[in-house]
Symmetry: C2
Subunit: 369 residues, 2 copies
């Protein structure tokens, strides 16, 4: 067997598949790429049994083969080569040999038999969506995915395919984010929970181009330009998040995101480490935020210009959670929709993007003082 | 007490002193800055008992004071403020209050009594040297300082003040670097060992301007534009390194640093993790470097154009040590001065810099095969 490939072209190919290689695993075969050549097409795959990635490229190969090769070593070697032609050959002693103008590198390979079967994409149900919007949905929601193994359903993002759009939801019980892409509609109403690792890998992989999403009972698959990404689903029922979102929060606080975010970052420095709390004291045209670190005996308060319609209110939030939400909103004017110091607060951009909806929800905390 | 200071000016001031704050300590008073105001001069100091940093600034203060304030909190708060005026006041309840246009921050302070006395710089013996050259000396030598607590003398850099120049030496027994600044001469011959942490902090602090080095039996002090840096010395005898440096290594291998470095970085990928080794097979116009990872069954070899005068030779080096040395040589032609596969090898730039000398030494390893 032999074929030639440019090092930079191969590096791009491997970079697309490498994210599925698990960082730690007890199944050492998963630390390999699956290399398959069939009729002049080289297909490289990787999986951690939860997610799988696959990409292909035409090569001028003289025979078919299937083998597994150590992913990190091969990827590191290819990355470390300059822009050069690599000639691949296999030797009888289970070695794959890479030859360049000045170098020869031998890497042990193994039979492809032990490599797990990758999921075959079921193409009955599909949606087309914009990669740009998917990236935005992931950027806005993924931080709120729960890390608590106690409630496995919440350890992923909910994708709801509905007549009114494609909805992404993430929550850990303390805060919740909902993002709707109204451009993508689906005749039925179906729910899928994508695990956190899949959401993270997908967010890095996706570009601005359109892509196709295939839906099945056990997997979601995203087919991009030249990469196929599949993930198992979390086979759980997602909690009814709609009942948590208040409909009539009539007290509206408007202010510039950057003004509040700068202040909250400073309040983080003054929030006691084991009970991080920031107090919002809201009046018609002035918001005072304050924090106190009782352990260290330090405290801070700042005033920020705002507009507010409603009775003056004192309400407390977890400082880190408030910071997370502000970090994931775009620059511009934002509004807090409030009801009372014990009820969920809705945070949104004031300017809406056409055919999109973004809503963040933050539970208040009981004030210490 | 009150005084005003611009936030960015104070940030710069604190940034100069903060490196002396220990990352971990059992003496909590060392986690503080010492703030002293005397006759309109604010002096900020910090120490970890090994090194000490101090800087000053004129302020318009109405009384004198001395107190300690939590270094990380104050530095983080000042960094997080935009460009603004800060008004400092002290309150009777041991709080320092910072007031800006929109914010008020209270930080607990304590009496300066518990703060250790900082070393007083003895000014009898001094040298003037270029900050640029000092930075270069540190950049070139510090990586070779030993991490082995067994030989405490080698856990610092040797500074030799001599009639022929200021010499910097670092070695861990496997490799050695010697850098001489011939512009700085001293009538006597004196040796000082500066601990590794001091070398590291100094390397980051120093700028291109000239600075004064004060020598004492227990401390070295570097006085820069507006910063005083002092360090305790390692009170040990540095080993006689000169006996290790071979004088007559007559076999000369010349090649481009970048060619060899690129190859060595790839050999690192193929060097067995617990016994990293690269083999140099040297002939008149071609160097072959090769490595083998027996655990993983992988291997690599590359050829590099060179000129060599001497009998063909096979010699082995630790791959990571060879990589370190190549990383710390400037781009250009370099030469390996060799004697035999068991004797120390000298590595130098071919082009010399005027009034400087740079020599690196690498011990070979016994070849496996």
């Amino acid at each position: 067997m032999n074929f030639k490939i440019n090092s930079k072209q191969l590096e791009k190919l491997l970079a697309k598949v490498f994210p599925a290689i698990p960082a730690r695993t007890t199944m050492s075969v998963l630390e390999n790429f699956l290399f398959e050549i069939e009729d002049g097409v080289l297909t490289v795959s990787a999986t951690d049994l939860e997610i799988a990635l696959r990409t292909s490229l035409n090569v001028d190969a003289n025979e078919n083969l299937a083998m597994v090769v150590p992913a990190k070593l091969l990827f590191d070697v290819v990355k470390s080569l300059g822009d050069t032609m690599i000639s691949f050959t296999t030797e009888s002693n289970q070695k794959m040999k890479l030859t360049t103008e000045n170098g020869q590198y031998a890497i042990g390979y193994a039979s492809a038999e032990e490599f797990p079967k990758l999921p075959v994409i079921q193409k009955d149900k599909s949606l087309t969506l914009s990669g740009k919007t998917l990236k935005k949905a992931i950027d806005k929601t993924s931080f709120a995915i729960s890390k608590e193994a106690m409630r496995p359903a919440m350890m992923g993002a909910l994708l709801e395919c509905t007549e009114n759009g494609l909805t992404f939801v993430a929550t850990d019980g303390h805060r919740l984010v909902k993002f709707i892409d109204q451009k993508v509609t689906f005749p039925e109403h179906e729910n899928y929970i994508l695990p956190e690792r899949a959401v993270g890998v997908l967010g890095k992989l996706v570009n601005d181009n359109d892509l196709t999403l295939y839906l099945s009972e056990t997997h979601l698959s995203f087919v991009m330009d030249d990469v196929e990404f599949s993930s198992r689903l979390i086979a759980q029922k997602y909690p009814d998040y709609t009942s948590v979102i208040p409909i009539e929060n009539e007290n509206i606080l408007k202010l510039r995101r950057s003004d509040l975010h700068a202040a909250i970052k400073r309040m983080l420095l003054f929030s006691t480490s084991n009970y991080q709390q920031v107090k919002f004291s809201i009046s018609a045209s002035l918001l005072e935020v304050s924090s106190e670190d009782i352990d260290k005996g330090s405290s801070a308060k700042e005033t920020i210009a705002c507009t507010y319609t409603g009775e003056p209110m004192d309400i407390g939030f977890n400082t880190a959670y408030a910071n997370d939400i502000l970090m994931h909103l775009d620059e511009g004017e934002i509004q807090f929709k409030l009801h009372s110091p014990t009820k969920a607060c809705v945070i949104e951009p004031v300017e809406k993007t056409e055919q999109e909806e973004l809503l963040m929800l933050l539970m208040p905390v009981r004030l210490n003082s």
